[in-house]
């Protein structure tokens, strides 16, 4: 490991991702040889850090690469380039056994709880399974009842099978499984999607309170801006595999600099602002990541686009303290009234 890399993760961050690239190539070796298909750049040069007990939200629409980023951050998908450091250790260079050790400290909560829980195991076995996988000594284990209590589930659920649980309960079992290893980082993919309002709010309360009591850090992947607006300390906005803007949550909401962020925020239906919105919505839809537009990926939908945007990809630059944006024209954008 070179010195320059180890310094990235040395600022006390739990997770440091630098210049991460994940490319999915289509077809077999022959078609790859003869076709011009360069593959899908799901993640295209993303850098990101998560500090202890920090909540970082990654927002983006479908196809933005946010889930791939989450998987790559835990070594759950192949990485084409760049580094993923957990406590200074680059997991892109580790073998399976040592990655597994890293995953004791950094765990994932998957989007669909029912498909991530084995239908043939009872809740009690599901909760203890991580201990067998990681060969955790008895003395460091939580009991089933303890785990259920942590996620505010009644202990009578221990004997049930996943199909007997409601969506919110299954989600909590997924969280309890994640907590069983006392991780320092939880990566949660769409933690509230598909849940009813009251079930979603109790999951969000739970995530908050776990941070308070255990100092857990979260990387929250979601398309729901109101969720990250409520929960996250820092937000990174992704569009077609790249981070287009990142910064403290309040700043991103109150003074977004990237036209895409502004469009996203303008698009949030909010209960207390029924009056007409000034900002025009982003027209059109997110293009296919297989064939992204040249230059700035957002230019076909951007009201500010000009000639440069069509040919030159903007780099992330620090526009304000802690707030970075990848836009050629952020100064003009910033001079407009916030959405």
């Amino acid at each position: 490991m070179s010195a320059s890399i180890s310094t990235i993760g040395s600022g006390g961050s739990l997770l440091a991702v630098s210049d991460l690239r994940v490319v999915f190539s289509g077809g077999g070796p022959v078609s790859r040889l003869f076709s011009k298909d360069k593959g899908v750049r799901a993640v295209d040069g993303v850098s990101l850090e998560v500090a202890p007990s920090e909540i970082v939200g990654i927002v983006g629409e479908s196809g933005s690469g946010k889930t791939t980023l989450a998987l790559a951050a835990l070594g759950l998908t192949h990485v084409t380039g760049g580094h993923v450091l957990h406590g200074g250790e680059d997991i892109t260079r580790l073998g399976a056994a040592r990655i597994r050790r890293v995953r004791r400290n950094a765990v994932m909560i998957f989007q669909d709880p029912h498909s991530s829980l084995s239908p043939r195991m009872r809740v009690s076995s599901l909760l203890l399974e991580p201990y067998f996988i990681h060969k955790v000594p008895e003395s460091e284990r939580y009991g089933v009842a303890e785990l259920l209590e942590m996620v505010e589930l009644p202990s009578r659920l221990a004997g049930l099978y996943p199909h007997e649980l409601s969506g919110g309960q299954a989600r909590r079992v997924g969280i309890a499984r994640a907590l069983s290893l006392r991780p320092r980082l939880i990566v949660a993919d769409e933690p509230t999607t598909g849940l009813d309002v009251s079930a979603a709010s109790s999951i969000l309360n739970l995530l908050q309170s776990l941070r308070v009591s255990y100092g857990t850090a979260y990387l929250i992947i979601t398309h729901a801006l109101n969720v990250v607006g409520y929960l996250a300390d820092r937000i990174a906005v992704m569009y077609l595999g790249r981070i287009v803007e990142s910064g403290p949550a309040e700043q991103i909401y109150d003074a977004p600099l990237h036209p895409y962020t502004r469009a996203l925020i303008a698009a949030i239906p909010e209960m207390d602002s029924r009056s007409g919105k000034k900002e025009p919505f982003a027209s059109g839809e997110i293009p296919s990541p297989r064939d992204p537009p040249p230059g700035c990926h957002f230019h076909p939908r951007c009201p500010f686009a000009e000639q440069t945007c069509r040919s030159v990809a903007p780099l992330l630059e620090e526009a304000r303290p802690n707030q970075s944006v990848a836009c050629h024209r952020w100064q003009e954008v910033a001079s407009r009234e916030a959405p």
């Binding site: 629409e61 479908s62 409601s166 969506g167 009813d196 309002v197 009251s198 079930a199 979603a200 709010s201 109790s202 969000l204 309360n205 908050q208 398309h223 801006l225 109101n226 969720v227 607006g229 409520y230 929960l231 949550a249 309040e250 909401y253 469009a263 996203l264 303008a266 698009a267 949030i268 239906p269 909010e270 209960m271 207390d272 029924r274 919505f281 982003a282 027209s283 839809e285 997110i286």
Partner: protein, 344 residues
């Protein structure tokens, strides 16, 4: 556009039962609701509240194990939909009431081009004699409708198969198809739930502008309160098969009268309640296998009193424009508080 007083659809005490493995579940005990011409009404509730069942019951599209038991569904004040046969119902579905479903991919036939499907819808409802000649005119209408719902290059779209379009485009096609027979009432069941935020905003803006230009009545079924705030004039809150509160959107959102609506509104995460603990509603929706005594929300309510467990709450007018089903707001509140005073 302000909604008039003309009632387009009136549900009177509509009950729905589902039969499953020999047991009968009364999903809707008896719902009454009026939709006036030109208004957008949001029907909100969590899963299991019966909102989709109600929407399907209006169009008589309940699954085979469901049936309407009692009540009337009056269209235009005269036609009772509950009493119509299949043939007569078909005359209603489309020309009078159209529906847009959550998942456009399952509503569109994957083996036919968009144009053909849109022509078929119109042809099926054309007067019998005209059926043969008008396919060309129908296709022209389809193209113009696809343009009106904001699809670029509609000539190309009619020649595409559903899988060649994106989710947002398919939902626009569904809306165009629903409008092709010029219905008076559009029922939209979670039309934006599967879409990304920027697309959702586009579809909501589209529905609003169509509504205004045609004075269409829209029943918008959703679990998303933010969406209701964005598009609806009036909101109807359902819980366990009953309407617990209804009223103007701003009134209900600012001064919810029912404890359930209140909790629901406080449970929505926004950036404004950052750092605060969100309200949650403990417990579960009551099982409908048994007869529910008293108020259906009593077990989960923070204000439950003795009478809530024994007597069904009355529906009373409350607040600025609201009607609420709750003992707290009803006359029972008075004697309850007097009783409590007498005890102390």
């Amino acid at each position: 556009m302000t909604p008039g007083d003309e009632v387009v659809l009136a549900l009177e005490n509509v009950g729905v039962e589902y039969e499953s493995r020999g047991t009968t579940m009364r999903v809707l005990p008896g719902v009454s609701l009026e939709l006036r011409r030109g208004e957008v009404v949001g029907l909100v509730g969590e899963s299991g509240s019966g909102k989709s069942t109600l929407a399907l019951a209006i169009l008589r599209l309940l699954p085979a194990n469901g049936r309407i038991v009692g009540g009337q569904i009056l269209l235009d004040g005269s036609i009772d939909l509950t009493g119509l046969g299949e043939e007569a119902l078909r005359e209603m579905r489309g020309p009078k009431i159209a529906m847009v479903f959550q998942d456009p991919l399952t509503s569109l036939n994957p083996t036919f081009k968009i144009g053909g499907q849109m022509v078929d819808v119109q042809a099926a409802h054309a007067p019998r004699r005209a059926r043969r000649v008008d396919r060309k005119a129908f296709l022209e209408k389809a193209v113009s409708l696809l343009g009106k719902v904001g699809l670029p290059d509609p000539d190309q779209i009619v020649r595409s198969y559903p899988h060649q379009l994106s989710g947002g485009m398919r939902q626009r096609v569904m809306i165009a198809m629903a409008l092709s027979l010029e219905p008076e009432l559009l029922i939209a069941d979670e039309p934006t739930s599967a879409l990304d935020v920027t697309l959702e905003a586009q579809i909501l803006a589209l529905l609003r502008s169509i509504q205004a230009s045609r004075n269409l009545t829209i029943l918008f079924v959703t679990h998303d309160l933010n969406v209701v705030a964005q598009i609806c004039d009036r909101v109807v809150v359902m819980y366990a098969g009953e309407i617990v509160e209804q009223g103007g959107v701003l009134d209900v959102f600012e001064h919810p009268q029912h404890p359930y609506s209140e909790a629901l509104l406080q449970a929505v995460p926004t950036r404004r309640n950052r750092g605060r603990t969100l309200a949650t509603i403990p417990g579960q929706v009551p099982s409908l296998l048994r007869e529910v005594r008293g108020c259906r929300f009593a077990d989960r309510c923070g204000y439950t009193k003795q009478c809530c467990r024994t007597e069904s709450p009355p529906v009373v007018a409350s607040g600025a424009s609201q009607a609420v089903r709750c003992h707290m707001r009803g006359p029972a509140t008075l004697w309850e508080s007097q009783e409590e005073k007498a005890q102390t």
